[in-house]
Symmetry: C2
Subunit: 235 residues, 2 copies
DNA sequence: CGATCAATCTATGCATACATTAACAAACGC
DNA sequence: GCGTTTGTTAATGTATGCATAGATTGATCG
């Protein structure tokens, strides 16, 4: 007997209270947070039961969280060994940056082409300025945060939710590697300059220029990180 | 100890099936298939219990499948209303094609830049030739299949697994809309020409040309589909 | 007749139980 | 000793039970 849809929903109406977070959601966020901060380092394994105990819930919601993390590409479920946090090899990072370079330079193009409001431009400029400040006082954590905010803003301005979501997901995968190498890489002065130039191109509605600048920016960063990771011996 | 040698398998039941698929996986594939073929059309809802009954399993693996489908972006879980198959609006399609255009033109660039073996080139040419044949006998289903194969091949040749996975996922989201409009759109003769030109550019290692051709190809197709969907009144 | 509210129903989210089977180890034959 | 076999353990995959909250229904009131 085939699965027959028994009714068709009217256009999606908000139904439930979004403020209530399920245990499955809590587990998902908690585990993801642990992974992104390297508290659950690459390669570590976690059994459903262990995680459930730690989080004060049963295996069921934990399992759901692990399934989601697997689909996010940050972990894998190995049938008798629990969830294993995926390492990010130099090759993985190369893949990630190839995609990010493509999508973010497209974002720069789209945003420049459409044009941005004064307020939006100000936000971008603020992020660049925060990066400069952070660099001046040698606060690399703050610099990384501002950098991330800049990229995030840029992508949000495309108003393409799928593009946003994909870039965010890949950014999370790359995050751990970036944090590991934050203090090993040359001071990112060039990065700040690139961003300032991109903002100028966006303000001037020069889509080709914006695309080109951001493409090179991401490609450079990608190559640098991949080489760094290779030197560190991450295969 | 057993008097009957245990290497004699009972006729009906294989002892150890190495490719044993979990019920959760079965549910995932079955539901996804139904959605992609529009047997479970956009907007339809399906309760966990209903699906479980139809698939001959309990709610637990069904639920896992639904969580995965939600992360795939083809359905949403609405508490107390079951899983709802997401409609693909004209706006959704615009988003999807923006990303696909970006990623696939990058793929064309990468593949042309690296160069392909004679065998790989032949596969691409075969796909183009199949598209021509299908068009000549007016078999649109076959044409769509060959078209999909071409795009799929192109992306596989990048050897970037993340790029492949993302393009595949977005392709699945767009699939239903493409099938719906397959007979309403103008005959895709231009599409075949674009593909032939792309193959030539790849053979000639002309990355810029390859990128440009494929970018325009995808952008054209996207605009056409979006307009078609808007005319059909999909919001 | 339409709106409001209470009573009922139901799908879900989670906990828990259980059968299965891979992984490990111990025992065994060579 | 060493590879093989068998027994044990434990983690999973799935089923099931249950409390809850949201949805639905129907009764009451204007």
């Amino acid at each position: 007997m085939p699965l027959i849809p028994n009714n068709v929903a009217s256009p999606s109406e908000p139904v439930s209270d979004p403020s209530r977070i399920s245990n499955a959601e809590r587990a998902y966020r908690a585990l993801k947070q642990l992974i992104l901060t390297n508290q659950l380092p690459a390669g570590s394994q976690l059994l459903e039961q262990e995680a459930a105990l730690q989080l004060g819930m049963s295996r069921t919601p934990v399992r759901e969280a692990m399934v989601r993390l697997e689909q996010d590409g940050v972990a894998e479920i190995r049938p008798r060994h629990g969830m294993r946090v995926l390492p990010v090899s130099a090759d993985d990072l190369r893949e990630i940056y190839e995609v990010l370079t493509s999508l973010e330079s497209t974002a720069a193009d789209l945003v420049a082409r459409r044009g941005v409001s004064a307020a939006e431009l100000a936000q971008l400029q603020q992020a660049v300025s925060d990066m400069d400040t952070a660099l001046a006082i040698d606060d690399l954590e703050a610099w990384a945060a501002a950098d991330q905010r800049f990229h995030s803003l840029l992508v949000e301005l495309t108003r393409n939710q799928r593009l946003q979501q994909i870039v965010k997901q890949l950014g999370e995968q790359a995050h751990r590697a970036r944090m590991l190498t934050l203090r090993l890489r040359p001071n990112p002065v060039g990065s700040n300059r690139d961003h300032a130039m991109l903002v100028a191109a966006i303000a001037g509605r020069d889509a080709d220029q914006a695309r080109s600048i951001h493409h090179d920016h991401r490609a450079k960063a990608g190559i640098m990180l991949v080489e760094l990771l290779e030197k560190l011996g991450f295969r």
